[in-house]
């Protein structure tokens, strides 16, 4: 399966508390009138300039294992290696919000509309992250439909640059996925253009396969322990599923 998807701008939602937290504020609700004005303005720019698109393509384990090694720069042990062995299905993805939103953020900064610009930047990052979660949900449903099962597998996205998978692994990922249709390219420094883009692999399987103890070499210097919340999303009592109405754009 390979599909190109896009999202109608009115399907994008942002939650004010998360955006404010993203800007490093421990206050999640700003009463300040100027803040509210800026937030509303940033929401308007988000709706007008974000153009979420993605490419998703299933891969078999052998192909993925080949590209996971990338340029040989991964940590000596990584959680994903172990997770892969027990996975049921895999799909590569690249998702982007497009270039216009980044150009708009830069323009707002240059016009000294600093707060609107920073809010729009925070919103864009949050939207990109949450849309990856929506791809997890969609891929889970796709597998259940293909297998004719009533239960959907637990799907989590893993990205180069996180948890021992070296960021240069994006080169191998791009060589297989070739996300040209959505206008994402990879520069020499392994940075994607447009900036607000995410690459990775969707890994489907039983919830337990995603669970592990953070004792890998990458974990010693990790102060986020982000994996804990991600694992809880699929193994916890309530599995939060993010649904958005992606539309197939490749006919």
């Amino acid at each position: 399966m390979r599909e190109c998807l896009e999202l109608a701008p009115d399907a994008i939602e942002v939650d004010q508390a998360s955006v404010v937290q993203r800007l490093g504020s421990s206050r999640t609700n700003c009463e300040n009138g100027l803040f509210q004005e800026s937030f509303t303005a940033a929401q308007g720019f988000l709706a007008a300039t974000a153009r979420p698109r993605c490419v998703v393509q299933t891969v078999d384990l052998a192909t993925f294992a080949g590209l996971y090694d990338g340029e040989g720069s991964n940590d000596r042990d990584t959680p994903l290696e172990v997770i892969l062995e027990r996975s049921e299905a895999l799909a590569l993805f690249v998702l982007t919000l497009g270039q216009t939103i980044t150009d708009t953020i830069r323009r707002l900064f240059s016009e000294h509309d600093y707060l609107v610009a920073a809010l729009l930047d925070g919103m864009a990052s949050l939207v990109a992250e949450s849309l990856v979660e929506s791809l997890e949900t969609r891929f889970g449903r796709h597998i259940a439909e293909c297998d004719g099962k009533s239960t959907t597998p637990a799907v989590l996205a893993y990205s180069p640059g996180y948890c021992g998978w070296h960021v240069s692994g994006q080169r191998a990922l791009f060589s297989v996925l070739k996300p040209n249709e959505i206008g994402v390219s990879l520069g020499a420094g392994c940075m994607m253009r447009p900036l607000k883009s995410v690459s990775g692999v969707l890994v489907a399987g039983e919830p337990e396969i995603h669970d592990f103890d953070p004792g890998y070499s990458c974990c010693s210097g990790c102060d986020t322990l982000e994996c804990r919340a991600r694992i809880a999303r699929v193994t916890g009592p309530v599995c939060a599923k993010r649904e958005v109405a992606w539309i197939c754009s490749d006919g």
């Binding site: 404010v20 707060l115 920073a118 520069g187 420094g189 940075m191």
Partner: protein, 214 residues
């Protein structure tokens, strides 16, 4: 409260239209541009900086105040030039070659301007030579380098090397920062300083400037 105190207070609240009006009044009252700058705008920003560091206010408040500072500064600039008022120092900022991420260094620039420095922001994906050329052109003593990914960080080392190869070490100091950058990495590439975030970048620039005065 006097005019300068009101400028500082309104700036703290991010009231850019009011700050603009008050600065205009101060100019009309023939207060010197340097007095308006130092005792009005910069005094207000200094309080904002202190309160931000103490976690009494947050980034949104700082950004509103910075916009108000800009509104006042815009009116003041021609007068500052005619009085020959110099900034506290000049800092060249940019994101290194191969890297497109800019909000981090942009925030550092906003905070430095708020502390009275002149900032020349070269943008993203900046070649090593361009950093050094810009520092010479603008007589800047500090180059601030930003990177988002471990794969673009090595370009910071190239800039540091260029500074040394062009016999400018000591005259031009390098300051590095960005999400994956660490103090250890800064030491490894021979950069003069590292700062974790925008608030500590201001302190670090101050310390670097002070070290030159001694």
């Amino acid at each position: 409260m006097d005019l300068l105190g009101r400028i500082a207070d309104d700036l703290e609240l991010g009231l850019n239209d009011d700050v603009r009006t008050l600065v205009r009044q101060a100019i009309d009252a023939r207060l010197s541009a340097s007095t308006i700058l130092n005792d009005g705008l910069l005094a207000g920003m200094a309080v904002v900086g202190r309160r931000f560091k103490a976690h009494e206010i947050f980034l949104p408040d700082v950004l509103l105040a910075a916009r108000a500072m800009h509104a006042g500064l815009e009116l003041l600039e021609p007068f500052l030039a005619s009085e020959d008022v110099r900034p506290r120092g000049t800092v060249i900022l940019g994101t290194v070659a191969g890297d497109q991420h800019d909000i981090g260094k942009t925030l550092v620039g906003i905070m430095l301007r708020g502390a009275g420095y002149e900032v020349v922001d070269l943008g993203i994906d900046v070649d090593p030579e361009t950093f050094v050329d810009a520092a010479l052109e603008h007589r800047a003593s500090i180059i601030g380098l930003s990177a988002l990914l471990t794969t673009t960080m090595p370009a910071m080392g190239v800039v540091v090397r260029h500074v040394k190869e062009r016999q400018l070490a000591g005259k031009i100091q390098t300051l590095v920062g960005g999400a994956p950058v660490t103090r250890e990495f800064a030491l490894e590439i021979g950069a003069d300083a590292y700062a974790y975030d925008a608030a500590s970048a201001v302190e670090t620039v101050e310390a670097l400037m002070d070290s030159r005065r001694c």
